[in-house]
C-alpha cells in the first residue's frame, strides 16, 4: 500500500494518506506534507522533536499536527524523515496526539523544492473503510 498520493487541485497540494490504523494514516500524512518541500526518504534521523497537540476533534488535531511540520521547518530548520510512536487518544471532549518526529537540520546538502504556507480544513476528510484514509489540502 502506498503511504500517500497527490490528487489534482487547481491551486494547491491535495493528498490522501493511508494507514491500517488512524495513527499510521496521520503519520503518512506528515510525510506527504514533508514531501512537498524536501525528500523525506533521504533524511537521516539525527534530531528528534516530541510533539503533543490537543484539539476539539480528530480533524483539528490532524491540522495542528501537520502544522507542526511546517512550524518546525520554518523555525528550527527541521526536516522530518520519520514519525515514531504516534498515539491518538480520544477523551471526553477532546482528542490528543503525541509523536516523536525524527529528522535532520537543514544543511547545504539538502535540496528544497517547494514551500507549504499552511494546512487547511478545505475538503479535509478522515475515513475508515477497512483501514484509514485522510485527505488534506495544504496552501502552497
Amino acid at each position: 500500500m502506498d503511504k500517500y498520493r497527490f490528487l489534482p487541485h487547481t491551486a494547491d497540494g491535495k493528498f490522501q494518506a493511508f494507514g491500517k490504523t488512524l495513527e499510521e494514516a496521520f503519520g503518512n500524512a506528515a510525510l506527504a506534507v514533508a514531501s512537498l518541500v524536501w525528500d523525506w526518504e533521504k533524511i537521516e534521523p539525527k534530531v528528534r522533536h516530541f510533539v503533543h497537540v490537543r484539539g476539539i476533534d480528530r480533524e483539528q488535531v490532524l491540522v495542528k499536527f501537520l502544522g507542526e511540520i511546517v512550524y518546525l521547518f520554518e523555525t528550527k530548520r527541521f526536516l522530518l524523515g520519520r514519525v515514531d510512536g504516534l498515539r491518538i487518544r480520544t477523551e471526553f471532549a477532546s482528542v490528543s496526539l503525541e509523536a516523536l518526529l525524527l529528522g535532520d537540520v537543514l544543511a547545504e546538502n539538502h535540496e528544497l523544492h517547494g514551500d507549504v504556507k499552511a494546512v487547511t480544513y478545505h475538503d479535509l476528510k478522515i475515513e475508515e473503510c477497512g483501514g484509514f484514509t485522510v485527505q488534506v489540502v495544504v496552501d502552497l
Binding site: A11, T75, L112, G114
Partner: protein
C-alpha cells in the same frame, strides 16, 4: 445551480435556500467556463449564507476556488450583526503588490539586467521557508506589528512619500500585537525582508503600452520603455500562523456544526474572538507592509550600486489583496461602516474618494494587477462605479486554472527559463520545480481578466507592463 446572465460580463446566482443575499460574478463567457469547472460558484453561494452579509456575495473576474471563500471573493458584513472570518481573508494576510517607478529606460537597463537581478537575489532572500532576512529582536517585531511600514521608514528603509503611496499609509491603525502567538512571532522574526515562494515574485519591468495618458501621468509613468519594479509578496509565516491560530480559536469558541466547509468558520465581528482576530490580522497586514517597504529599499540600493543612482525610484503604489477592512460604503443612499473582506481582490477606489493621496485624487487609486511569471501585468485606476458594483474592488491577478501537479507533469523549469530568455526575459529562481509549477500556461489569461474589469467598470485600464527580469521565490 442556477446562474443567470444579467448583463455583459455580469452573472447572478439568485437567492435560494439559506442564502441571505444573491451572488454576483463578473466574468466573460470564457472566464465563467473556468469558474464552473471548480467549486468557485458553490463557495460564492456559501458566503452569501453568512450572518450580516450586505448586498451581495461578489466574485471578481479572476475568481477561482479557494478554501471556504473563493479567491477573487468580496463580501461585506454589518459590523453590528455580521461576522469576520479568517477564511475570508486567506492565509497570506496582506499578500499584495508594490510598484516602483524609475527614471531608467529599457535601453539603459537591459545590458545590466544580470547584475541587477543577482544583486537583488542577494539582497532579498527568496525561496522555501527561508529566513535570512533582516535581523530583528522581538521588541522591533512588535513595533512593526503595530506601526507597519512607518516603522521601516523611521528605521531608514525608504521615505515618507512611500507611506503616502501605500494603502492605509502602510499602517492599519486597529492593529494589536497582544494576541499574536509566540509561534507566529517565531515564524515572523527570521522572515522579515524576504520574498517567500509559490506565486510570489519580484520583477524588473518595462512599460509596454499606455491606455490612459492622464492617469498614467498622475501615476508617474512617462512612456513606453520606462523601467519599473514590481514586488509581489505577503506576511510570510507570521500571517499564515495568525490565520491558523484564529481558525482554531473560532472553532473552539463557536464549534463547527452546520458549516459546509470548516474554512468558513467565523466570529461575530463584535465578539471577543472577532475583535482579537481583527486586531491580529491588522498586525499581520502591517508586517507585510513593512516587509515590502524593506524589500523595496533593498531593490533601490541595488539599483544605486549597479547603475550609479536610484533617483526617480519613487513608489507608484502598494496594494493589499488579502484583507478585511472597516470601510465606509454607500448602502441604500446612506454611508455605512462595513467589514469588507477582499480575498484575492484589490481595492479599487475611484476619483474623489477620501484617503487617497492628493496626486491620485483626480484619477482614482492605482490598482496593480500582477500577471503570472513572464506574462504582462497591468496598472488600472480605481473607479467611482466600483463602489456600487463591488464595494470598490476588482481583480488581483491571473488566477490559476491548472494544478501545480499537472503543471509539473507538463513543464520543465529549465525549458521555461530558456523560452523566456528567447523572449528577452531573464529569470532567476531558487527552484526549477517552482518555476515549472508557476508556468504561465497554468494561469488564466490576465489580459482577459483586466479587459472584463475595464468593461464592467471595476477598474479602468491605464497601462500594460511586461517583465525584462524575473526573480521567483
Amino acid at each position: 445551480m442556477d446562474i443567470e446572465k444579467i448583463g455583459e460580463n455580469v452573472w447572478r446566482i439568485p437567492r435560494e435556500g439559506d442564502m441571505r443575499v444573491p451572488a454576483v460574478v463578473y466574468a466573460s463567457d470564457r472566464l465563467l467556463d473556468d469558474l464552473r469547472r471548480d467549486q468557485t460558484l458553490t463557495q460564492a453561494r456559501n458566503v452569501a449564507c453568512l450572518p450580516g452579509i450586505v448586498r451581495m456575495s461578489y466574485v471578481m473576474p479572476d475568481g477561482h476556488q479557494g478554501y471556504g471563500f473563493p479567491i477573487g471573493g468580496v463580501a461585506a458584513f454589518d459590523p453590528d450583526e455580521g461576522i469576520v472570518s479568517p477564511g475570508g481573508v486567506g492565509y497570506d494576510i496582506n499578500c499584495g503588490v508594490r510598484l516602483l517607478k524609475t527614471d531608467f529606460t529599457e535601453a539603459e537597463v537591459t545590458g545590466r539586467r544580470k547584475e541587477l537581478l543577482s544583486g537583488i537575489f542577494g539582497a532579498v532572500p527568496a525561496g522555501a521557508g527561508q529566513g535570512g532576512g533582516i535581523k530583528l529582536d522581538r521588541t522591533a517585531l512588535r513595533e512593526i506589528l503595530v506601526k507597519g511600514a512607518e516603522w521601516a521608514v523611521a528605521n531608514g528603509y525608504g521615505s515618507g512619500e512611500d507611506l503616502e503611496r501605500t494603502e492605509e499609509s502602510g499602517r492599519m491603525k486597529d492593529a494589536g500585537a497582544d494576541d499574536i502567538s509566540d509561534r507566529a512571532m517565531e515564524r515572523g522574526l527570521p522572515q522579515i525582508g524576504t520574498l517567500g515562494s509559490g506565486n510570489h515574485f519580484l520583477e524588473i519591468q518595462k512599460v509596454d503600452e499606455i491606455f490612459d495618458e492622464e492617469a498614467a501621468r498622475a501615476f508617474g509613468l512617462t512612456g513606453r520603455g520606462q523601467v519599473l519594479v514590481m514586488i509581489h509578496c505577503g506576511s510570510r509565516g507570521l500571517g499564515h500562523q495568525v490565520a491558523s491560530d484564529f481558525i482554531e480559536a473560532m472553532e473552539n469558541a463557536f464549534g463547527v456544526a452546520g458549516l459546509p466547509d470548516r474554512e468558513l468558520v467565523h466570529a461575530p465581528f463584535k465578539s471577543a474572538e472577532g475583535q482579537r482576530y481583527y486586531r491580529s490580522m491588522c498586525a499581520a497586514v502591517n508586517y507585510a507592509f513593512a516587509n515590502r517597504q524593506m524589500i523595496a529599499h533593498g531593490v533601490r540600493e541595488v539599483f544605486a550600486r549597479v547603475l550609479g543612482t536610484s533617483r526617480g525610484m519613487g513608489q507608484v503604489y502598494d496594494v493589499c489583496h488579502n484583507v478585511a477592512k472597516v470601510d465606509e460604503h454607500d448602502v441604500g443612499g446612506r454611508s455605512t461602516r462595513l467589514v469588507v473582506h477582499r480575498k484575492g481582490a484589490t481595492r479599487s477606489f475611484g476619483p474623489g474618494r477620501p484617503g487617497l493621496p492628493a496626486a491620485y485624487r483626480a484619477v482614482g487609486q492605482p490598482v496593480i494587477i500582477p500577471g503570472s511569471m513572464g506574462t504582462a501585468s497591468y496598472l488600472l485606476a480605481g473607479t467611482a462605479a466600483a463602489e456600487a458594483l463591488s464595494f470598490g474592488s476588482t481583480a488581483h491577478g491571473a488566477g490559476r486554472v491548472m494544478s501545480r501537479h499537472e503543471a509539473l507533469r507538463r513543464f520543465r523549469g529549465e525549458k521555461i527559463r530558456d523560452d523566456l530568455a528567447r523572449r528577452g526575459i531573464e529569470l532567476m529562481s531558487t527552484s526549477w520545480k517552482g518555476v515549472a509549477e508557476e508556468a504561465s500556461e497554468a494561469y488564466k489569461d490576465v489580459d482577459e481578466v483586466v479587459r472584463v474589469s475595464h468593461e464592467v467598470g471595476l477598474g479602468r485600464l491605464v497601462a500594460r507592463v511586461v517583465p525584462i527580469g524575473v526573480i521567483k521565490g
